[in-house]
Amino acid sequence: MRRRLGLAAAVLVAVVAGVGSASALVGNTGRETLDGPQAVQPDGQGASLATSAADPGGRQPWAVRVYRSQAGLTCPEAGRTQGGDFGRVDADGRFQPLDIQAAGSCADLSEAPLSLAVNHFPARDPAGSGRAVIFGVVSPRITGLTLSLAGGRRPLAVNRGAFLAVTDEDQLQGASLDATFADGSTTSYPLRPSAAPATAPAGE
């Protein structure tokens, strides 16, 4: 009897020690789930609306707001604007303001020449094309941008360091954003339609 009690106590102590040791080894992953990496967390100093573009469907304009992260990165975020506010437009056309959260596509512009992101919105009508919102910020090293879409090439304006273009998703086939640098060199950044399937595989 004493031997069984001793064994049970030893196993219990071992379980606690094992959980503690394993937790110490994998420690930080849970914290990131709640807080997000510092790289994208806003620094609390607010955000500025940098540029806007008309909506091809005639609804509220699109816009890019930019905040700085706690790690000092530059973080553009694409959305809609109405009356100077930044937000989202729902299917019924109503504008929903959005608070500043860790939602930017952040980059360190002291190292990277730009931040470039595309938000992909699926088509509401199965027969239609989805919407692609191409946006980002550039460092002073970039002097010009050209957007090459399936329908042709055009210069892309940079306002207060940010750029924005709204197009149909199918225009991204073979598309690119071409950056011209102060030294005259160019770099082409490929753009692609979303490859995400309409439904996740069963069990995911």
Partner: protein, 121 residues
């Protein structure tokens, strides 16, 4: 008490702890770069992210959001230094616990899905 038995118990306990801990952290992990499903201020407010950090020489990445298994939107990035960061609020109001992040970064890992913590999908 046999020393071998105690050692075996310790090994089993450690494995149990590791499995439990990693399972709880499985919504966001690091495979060359950090990626996965990230909750906002809480795990039930409908504000969450599909995210892939930059690094490992990756260029093209796509972070997508699924709700009850259906695609609702995504973000792609095309350079080495930008965080892929798709926010649920950009696409609508969704049930967080039924949501998943699909992450695509061929330079760092194979495409896979991360479910929300407290999965209810």
């Amino acid at each position: 008490m046999p020393r071998g038995l105690v050692l075996l118990a310790l090994v089993c306990a450690f494995s149990f702890g590791a499995i439990v801990r990693v399972a709880l952290a499985d919504n966001y992990h690091t495979a060359c770069v950090g990626h996965g499903f990230v909750s906002g201020a809480s795990q039930s407010d409908g504000s969450f992210f599909s995210r892939i950090e930059p690094g490992c020489g990756s260029t093209y990445r796509e972070c997508s959001i699924y709700v009850y298994g259906s695609y609702v939107g995504s973000q792609s990035v095309g350079d080495t230094g930008t965080s892929c960061n798709s926010w649920s609020r950009d696409f609508g109001n969704f049930t967080e616990c039924a949501s998943s992040a699909r992450v695509y970064d061929p330079a760092a890992f194979s495409t896979h899905y991360h479910n929300a913590p407290g999965w209810c999908g």
